[in-house]
Symmetry: C2
Subunit: 361 residues, 2 copies
């Protein structure tokens, strides 16, 4: 199978076909398509059987598909869904899994009708998260890209932090970061940069706006770079000028909770067990009600992906999985503190992949 | 109903509920949610009945929803889908339309099971494109935003065109445009900028890369700005240095086809009739095989939306609809020419909304 760009990914997906009693899987999700085949495009489908690998896309992308996805047969398809019936019959697919967490009701309905009208009668079986589970473990190719995205984000943040001034707006600060990321070769930011000043920092998902930086208030800066598809994610809390004792105390609680989770997380632990390490410290300091989100999340081709690291995350954290650790304390009307790094489990322990300075207030 | 931000939009959607025999519609698509309610967010649902209007979102966004969507009752929901059953029972909804072209198979399944488990038994009826059809007509609020997005894109393109130099890469040129757009107050570009130099210009959906500008070759520049959600879309073809007679001849054919379509399109014409005006001119010049895409498309909150303006577009173009007119000729190994403007039908005729200079080679 060395003719594939990512032979091990294809092999692992085929193992899942066997486990799940599927003859083939029909991949519609763009990131899963890219992960399994290497084909980077907004349009196309993969049909992977236990022996065959077919990439279906329209005339705009067939040339690109052939280049990016060696080992895949590239079929040119049109707007009508009838190609699926031909392929199902040719490849003798009896049980076809599809991505029920990606495909719309309309799209499934169109394919279902077309199969019937063209005398192809596979069992269409809904699947969820098969590729997402594979994607939670990163291989060496992915880790190199993820680390590069993280490095770009770290450097761009530090460059931005050095330029923050009283009177600068949240939007202006976010734009400095975005330019710095792009000038370092990232294709884009990995999500809309959050810059939240003062009382805005009390909202974990504040929409960056025209509020200006004020001396002595917390500024939450949550930002990331996307490099060759891979997404970084970093949060730092910064104060310009003198920080109050209250800010220092809350910053210290959040930092202690973050470092404890990084120190104590082990492979085999569930996401909720990891979350509980940080949550307990924040609760004991009296701020349980003020930490209203999960401790972290996996990241890769999506900025939020498996594993989950929250109060209801039953899945286990394992060696080879990168994820964020980002506790926070939010006080309405006052502000907030959040500190986030990306770690990866190796030899059962967390290694920190982010290296942006923590600028303690 | 003046307590709504967009009373006419709500009213028109309610007329559709009556026409389609629906008690209510369940809106999951983000742009439709924004269009109907004014709520700008990545998470939330609308339930609009003939008398009630409920916006359901999680704790992160309830405050924002109350501000942005006056006239809507804001319900705070959690991760479980059981809130839908409560609402269906409270509002006595018997036939509930959902957006089958947006909702995934998994999401529908979760809601369906939850409804059943909670003794709510509405008929769930798949709908397609109801809001998209309403959105194809732009009201005055939308037209002002769209025109502003177009003006930003036009100015940013002209600023960029003046800076193009032999030896500059496609990516560098695209980045100049993006910075110019952002400095003029756009929140982002409206789609990844296409800069295609020389033979790359033969591919209508070329992925902007490291190819450098060469004297005397065609450069296709396809770009847009997003302002308060509204997307502009502009294409110009530029040559640095002296253009060959072949470039001049092909440019002239494309421009003639574009101007003819703009001159002759009338309200009541179908999209395919409009497409045929330009396609006929290109075919008569001997390049029919080299114009492999549709003449245009509607645009608004999405950069591609209704109406369609292509060889199979049966829908009618009507007063109040903006759309692009963008014929092209593409010659493999050589290059291509595409020219695109946005027009709107008013008093049955097209008015041009784009004002970027056409830099004839």
């Amino acid at each position: 199978m060395s003719d594939f760009q990512f032979p091990l990914r294809v092999e692992k997906l085929r193992e899942r076909l066997v486990q799940d009693n599927l003859d083939a899987i029909f991949i519609s999700n763009a990131e899963n398509r890219r992960y399994i085949s290497g084909f980077e495009s907004s349009a196309g489908y993969l049909i992977l059987t236990r022996n065959d690998a077919v990439l279906c896309t329209d005339f705009r992308y067939t040339e690109q598909a052939s280049q990016q996805a060696p080992g895949w047969r590239v079929d040119r398809i049109g707007g009508k869904p009838d190609w699926l019936a031909d392929l199902v019959n040719e490849l003798k697919i009896k049980v076809l899994g599809f991505e029920a967490d990606d495909m719309t009701v309309d799209t499934l309905d169109r394919f279902r009708k077309s199969l019937k009208n063209n005398n192809a009668n596979p069992t269409l079986r809904p699947t969820s998260s098969i590729c997402l589970e594979l994607r939670s473990y990163k291989d060496d190719v992915e880790l190199a890209l993820l680390q590069h995205a993280i490095d770009i984000g770290d450097q761009a943040f530090e460059e931005t932090a050095a330029q923050l001034r009283v009177g600068m707006s949240e939007k202006e600060a976010a734009w400095i970061f975005e330019q710095a990321v792009r000038e370092r070769g990232a294709e884009s930011i990995s999500f809309p940069t959050i810059v939240a000043v003062g009382p805005n920092a009390a909202r974990p998902h504040h929409s960056t706006g025209d509020t200006k930086i004020v001396e002595g208030q917390t500024i939450i800066f949550d930002c990331g770079a996307k490099y060759k598809g891979y997404c970084s994610d970093l949060t730092r809390t910064v104060v310009l000028g003198k920080a109050s004792d209250k800010i220092k105390r809350i910053y210290d609680i959040v930092l202690t909770a973050q470092l404890a989770a990084i120190e104590m997380v082990k492979s085999g632990m569930t996401g909720e067990e990891c979350d509980a390490i940080a949550r307990k410290i924040i609760a004991e300091a009296g701020y349980e009600e003020h930490f209203g989100h999960s401790l972290g999340h996996g990241l890769g081709l999506d900025v939020h992906e498996n594993p989950g690291v929250g109060p209801n995350s039953k899945g286990k954290l394992q060696n080879g999985m990168p994820f964020t650790i980002e506790p926070g304390i939010y006080i309405p009307g006052w502000g907030g503190v959040r500190i986030e790094d990306v770690v990866i489990l190796k030899n059962s322990k967390a290694q920190i992949l982010s290296h942006a300075a923590k600028i303690n207030p």
